[in-house]
């Protein structure tokens, strides 16, 4: 019953909206630039652990800012319209894909600005890029579901942050842990892969939960 064509159309609609109203996109880009520039003014060449900590804090706030918009911009009437033309699974999948794409772009962008202004202390750069992308995907998935929940509550942003922080910490813990591998820390045999698979598994879990739970949020 989930048709790929409808998902693609909804996905395209989000993308088109982004291209037409560029203020959200540039808003986030400016957010990244400001954060990094302030950090650059405060500390010029942080060592690896500080760099890592700052980077993940930055990623967390970017993902909240980027993903929260996806449901905030939908008015009540428009949601009703989507309700008549698509199934909830199609709608949430389109949103998920779009947010994942947006976060991938934002992650790469912040990684580039970070390494430009604050130096790049990693030993294994491709590995760190991979971890960043994985982190971007994980965060966008979790925050999409939370944004959907928060959009049902009246005070959107505050509720999303309150719900989001405890839920995202386990994943951040894992991400910070595995990103140390790119700084040259040696892991026990298999520990790195195990944690990476766990992160992937969590992503799949969140995806499945989105598919199961979103229909209940959708009908009003």
């Amino acid at each position: 019953m989930v048709s790929a064509k409808k998902i693609l159309t909804l996905f395209k609609k989000d993308l088109l909206l982004e291209v037409r109203q560029q203020y959200t996109f540039y808003g986030i880009v400016l957010y990244i630039a400001c954060t990094v520039y302030i950090l650059f003014l405060a500390i010029s060449e942080p060592d690896a652990s500080v760099w890592n900590a700052l980077f993940w804090v930055n990623m967390l706030f970017i993902s909240i800012n980027a993903v929260a918009k996806s449901f905030l911009q939908e008015s009540r009437g428009r949601m009703l319209y989507y309700y008549t033309i698509a199934s909830p699974q199609e709608f949430i999948l389109a949103k998920l894909f779009y947010n994942v794409l947006l976060m991938l772009v934002m992650s790469l962008l912040s990684l580039i600005t970070f390494s430009f202004f604050l130096g790049s202390p990693f030993v294994n750069a491709p590995q760190y890029i991979g971890i960043t992308l994985l982190g971007g995907i994980s965060m966008s998935l979790v925050f999409t579901l939370l944004a959907a929940i928060a959009s049902r509550a009246n005070q959107n942003a505050a509720i999303m942050v309150i719900m989001g922080f405890p839920v995202i910490i386990p994943q951040l813990l894992l991400l910070i842990r595995i990103s140390k591998a790119a700084f040259g820390e040696v892991f026990k045999d298999g520990a790195f892969l195990q944690m990476t698979f766990l992160l992937g598994g969590l992503d799949i879990l969140v995806l499945a939960l989105c598919m199961i739970l979103f229909p209940f949020l959708w009908k009003d």
């Binding site: 509550a153 309150i162 719900m163 839920v167 894992l174 842990r177 766990l198 879990l205 199961i212 949020l217």
Partner: protein, 230 residues
């Protein structure tokens, strides 16, 4: 709800836990010594918490299937008692850690508390605190019930990796983690002594029954308060 035998059983089991737990013989291991008696309180709190959260999850799913308002009251009451038990578990654990994990090199307790397992436990409690904040943010009862039920399912799913998987992967001082042989042999026993088992299992049962008892009382007052709505 009107049967009383399990309440009597809860009282008897808890009296046995407290009397037996403090007076019966326990194995005395290096560092751990008599503090192993905390096992009857600390570990059973977490057992109770997990059971109550699981019951809360079941009622949330039931609510989503039936839209029966009673199930929402049940789910929130079980989550509330579960969170309370979690806080007690954290407190008893912190006391225990302050006697067994702090070495004589002048560490502060806060360095000890920065532990994957304890972080996980703290996050678990925060996740459920967020559940209650979310509940408070709605005026519409039906909407509140539906959205919080969704969040409850999600919260339980995230709770599992937080408490059970991540501490085992990143390594922890807490028993049950690989690599816990980091300078503390006392915590490395995998098997529980039969003398401990004599009190431990009744303790788990007793505390769980007490948790359910508290919850049923809360549910009954809530049902009476919202009689006009049901």
């Amino acid at each position: 709800m009107h049967k009383s035998w399990w309440k009597i059983a809860a009282v008897i089991l808890l009296v046995y836990t407290i009397v037996g737990g403090f007076l019966m013989d326990v194995p005395r291991l290096f560092i751990l010594n008599e503090s192993i008696r905390n096992l009857y309180f600390h570990v059973s709190m977490w057992f109770t918490m997990m059971i109550l959260f699981a019951v809360s999850l079941v009622y949330s799913i039931k609510y989503l299937r039936s839209q029966n308002h009673k199930h929402d009251i049940y789910a929130s009451a079980y989550a509330g008692t579960g969170t309370f038990m979690g806080l007690l578990g954290y407190a008893t654990g912190a006391i225990w850690a302050s006697y067994t994990w702090v070495t004589d090199q002048g560490q502060s307790l806060s360095t000890i508390l920065k532990e994957p397992k304890l972080l996980g436990a703290g996050i678990a409690i925060l996740i459920y605190c967020a559940y209650f904040v979310l509940r408070g943010s709605f005026n519409d009862i039906d909407k509140r019930a539906r959205v919080t039920a969704v969040y409850n399912v999600f919260a339980f799913a995230m709770l599992f990796p937080t408490i059970w998987i991540i501490p085992r992967l990143v390594g922890s001082l807490h028993p049950g983690a690989p690599g816990s042989e980091s300078g503390n042999p006392a915590l490395n026993f995998n098997d529980i002594d039969s003398r401990l088992r004599m009190v431990f299992y009744p303790a788990v049962l007793g505390w769980t029954l007490l948790g359910v008892w508290i919850t049923t009382l809360k549910i009954r007052t809530k049902l009476l308060a919202e009689k006009s709505l049901l």
